[in-house]
Symmetry: C2
Subunit: 374 residues, 2 copies
C-alpha cells in the first residue's frame, strides 16, 4: 500500500460476502461506498460543471485514458496540472487503462504479448499501448485510482480466446505493478475470464496473489445479460480480499447494481445517467420518462417533485421539453444533472439500508418502484 | 405609469445629456444602469444556468418573442408559469416585439398597415404579427419590460422606405399602447428613422408625446457603422425624456457602448459575449483571444488572471481549449460565462466611474486596454 492515506475501510454489513458499506480514502478525499462513479470521458462529465456534480452528491468521477492520451495527450494534461486541475474537480478521480476503448473504438488493432497496436479513431495515427505505457499515461494524468491494462473479450467469445485474454491480463497486471511510479495513486487490477468459471477463478486468484490495493470485475456489460452477470459475480467476488475495494466496471442498470451490491461490490461506473440525460430520458422513481414527448409540453411539474436537484427545484418538464425541442444545451445539461442526482440518491438509500441492516427490503423497494420505462 | 413599482431613477451624472447612472425598478427587482442585457433567445442564455448568470453579475436578461411565439408558443410559456418560471430566472426580463426577427429570419414576409405576415423559419407555417398580437404574445410571456412592434429598415435604405417604416412604427406604437393589458409590465417604444435626422426626430417626438415609460433606439447595429451610430444617438437621445430609461437595441461593441453611455443611454442587449463564447473567442482586457489556437494547448493560466468568474477561478486556457477541440459542451459554457462576466465588469466599472465623475477617463481606459483581437 502507498505511503499516503489510501484504503477501504468497512463500516457496516458483511465485508466478505456483502452487502457492505464502507469508506474509500484517497488523497483527494473519501468516497462512501457503495458509490456511483459518473463518466467524464474527455475530462468532463458532459455539460455538467464540477459545482453541479458536487451539488448532486457525486463523490468520485471517471475519465478515460484512451480518449485523453489521444487528445489532448497525457503529457498535456500533466502540464496543465493533471486531471484534477483540467476537470476543476477536487474530489477523487479514477481512470481506466484504455484497453476497453481500444477494442470498442479503434481500428486495425493488433494484440501481441507486448501490448496493443491500433489506429486512433480521431486521426488514424498508429498508437501502441503497453502495460508500461498505459500506466505511464495514467501516472501523467494523475487520477487517484488507476487501472492495470487488461484485455476485455467480447460476448460471446470462444473459450480459447477468453483463456488467452486472461493469460495476457495476468502478465500485464504484473508489468503494470512494476511500471507504476506514483505512491499517491492506487493501481487496481481487473479480473477477466468471460463467463468461464474456472478462468474467472484463475484470474482472480493470481491477481490477488499479486496483492493489488483494489480489484475490478471487468469483461461485463458487453452483452452477457443480467443472469450471466450474477453468475460472474458469484464466481469472482468471494475470491477477492474482504479488506480491499471492489469495482464493477461499466454497470449501472438498477437491477444489476442491486445484485452486485448484494454480492459485496463497492463501486460502479456507468454512462447511463448522462447518456440518457442527453437524450431527454429522465430517471424517476416510477420509471424512465422521455421529455421530448408531446404530453410534457405544458407540464408545469418538475421531473420528480420529491427530487432536490437544481433541475427539479427550478425547471418544469415543459421548460425542459422546450429546451430539447429548440436544441438548447440546457436540455441535456438539466436532465444529466437530474439523472446523476437520481443515481446518487439511490446509492445513498442503499448505503443507508446496509447500515440499518435492511438492504434487501430497500433494494426491493427500489426495483419495485423503478419500472424501467414509461 | 403602472401601479406596481416601475421607474427609472437617476443616481449620478447628467440625467438629460449623459453619461448618467441610475436604477431601473421592476416587479422582479432593480437594475443598476448603465446595464448590459444578455440575450436568452429561446428562454435560455445558451448553456448558462441562471445561477451562473447571477454569479457573474447579470441583472436582467432578454428573450425573443419571435422565437418563443413559434416554439413552444406564448400560451405554452404562460401555462408553464411565464418566462420567469421557464427560464428559472427570478430577476427582470425584457422581451422584444418580434419585428426585428421577422425581417432577419423569416421568409416571404409581407408588410401592410395592419401588420406583418410571414412564414415561420421552423415549419414554414404562415404567421401574422400585428401590434395587437405582438403585445398579446408579450403579455402571455410575462416579461417585466415589453417592446412595441416596430419596423426596422435595413442599411442602407431609400429615404422613402425609412419614412414609411417610421409612419408604421408610430401608428403601431399607438395600437400597442391600446392593446397592452398588464400593469405589471412596462411597454416601451422604439425610435426608428434610419440615418435620416428629421425622421429620427419625428419618430422620437411623436413617441414621446404618447408618453411611454421607456424608449429604445432601434434600427441600429444593422451595418450602419460606428460613426452613423454616434450621429443617430446625437439626433435622438436628447429628444427622449430625461426621467425615462433609454435602451439601445442590439449594441455591445465596447466603443459603441462607450459612445452611447456618454450620450445618456442606460441599457444594451447584445449576442456578442455569448455568441463569441460559443466560438471559443474570449474577451480579455488586452483584446479577444481565440482559445482554439494551438498556442493555448498547455497554457495553465486562466483566460484572465484577474477575472473572478467561475471559468477563470477554476479552469485553465489549456483545459478550455481541450474542451473545444473535443466538442465538449463545457467549452462554450465556460467562455460564455467568462464573456458575460467581462461585460458585467466593464459595465460595473463604467457605472462606478459615472458616480465618481470620471466617466471619460475610465471609458478611455477600457478602450485603450481592449484592443479588439489577438
Amino acid at each position: 500500500m502507498p505511503s499516503v492515506p489510501f484504503n477501504w475501510q468497512p463500516l457496516a454489513g458483511d465485508a466478505a460476502a456483502g452487502p457492505r458499506a464502507g469508506r474509500l480514502t484517497t488523497p483527494h478525499g473519501p468516497v462512501e461506498t457503495p458509490a456511483f462513479i459518473p463518466v467524464g470521458t474527455r475530462a468532463t462529465v458532459r455539460g455538467v460543471l464540477p459545482g453541479a456534480l458536487r451539488a448532486v452528491g457525486v463523490q468520485i468521477v471517471l475519465a478515460n485514458t484512451y480518449h485523453l492520451m489521444l487528445r489532448p495527450g497525457a503529457d498535456v494534461v500533466r502540464d496543465l496540472g493533471g486531471l484534477h486541475a483540467v476537470m476543476a474537480w477536487e474530489g477523487p478521480i479514477l481512470t481506466d487503462s484504455g484497453g476497453y476503448q481500444v477494442f470498442s473504438l479503434s481500428e486495425r488493432r493488433q494484440v501481441t504479448d507486448e501490448g496493443l497496436t491500433f489506429r486512433s479513431h480521431i486521426d488514424g495515427e498508429e498508437v501502441v499501448l503497453t502495460p508500461e505505457s498505459a500506466v505511464a499515461a495514467q501516472n501523467a494524468l494523475g487520477a487517484d485510482v488507476i487501472m492495470a491494462l487488461d484485455i476485455c473479450p467480447p460476448y460471446p467469445c470462444p473459450r480459447e480466446a477468453v483463456g488467452e485474454a486472461v493469460r495476457r491480463t495476468l502478465a500485464w497486471a504484473q508489468r503494470c505493478l512494476s511500471a507504476h511510479a506514483r505512491d499517491d495513486q492506487a493501481l487496481w487490477a481487473i479480473v477477466q475470464g468471460g463467463v468461464e468459471p474456472d478462468l474467472r477463478r484463475r484470474c482472480a486468484e493470481e491477481l490477488v496473489a499479486m496483492d493489488f490495493p483494489g480489484y475490478a470485475v471487468g469483461g461485463v456489460s458487453v452483452g452477457e445479460g443480467h443472469e450471466n452477470l450474477r453468475r460472474v459475480l458469484d464466481w469472482t467476488v468471494p475470491l477477492l480480499p474482504a479488506a480491499r475495494p471492489r469495482y464493477l466496471m461499466g454497470v449501472g442498470e438498477p437491477r444489476d447494481v442491486v445484485a452486485a451490491i448484494e454480492r459485496g461490490v463497492d463501486l460502479f461506473d456507468c454512462v447511463l445517467p448522462t447518456r440518457n440525460g442527453r437524450n431527454a430520458s429522465a430517471y424517476t422513481a416510477g420509471g424512465m420518462i422521455r421529455l421530448r414527448n408531446e404530453r410534457f409540453k405544458a407540464d408545469a411539474r418538475p421531473i420528480e417533485p420529491e427530487c432536490d436537484c437544481p433541475a427539479c427545484r427550478r425547471f418544469s418538464r415543459g421548460a425542459i421539453r422546450h429546451f430539447f425541442q429548440a436544441g438548447e444545451m440546457l436540455g441535456p445539461i438539466l436532465v444529466s444533472i437530474h439523472n446523476l442526482r437520481f443515481f446518487t440518491r439511490v446509492f445513498g438509500r442503499l448505503r443507508e439500508a446496509i447500515r440499518a441492516g435492511r438492504f434487501r427490503a430497500e433494494a426491493q423497494a427500489v426495483l419495485d418502484r423503478y419500472a424501467g420505462s414509461d
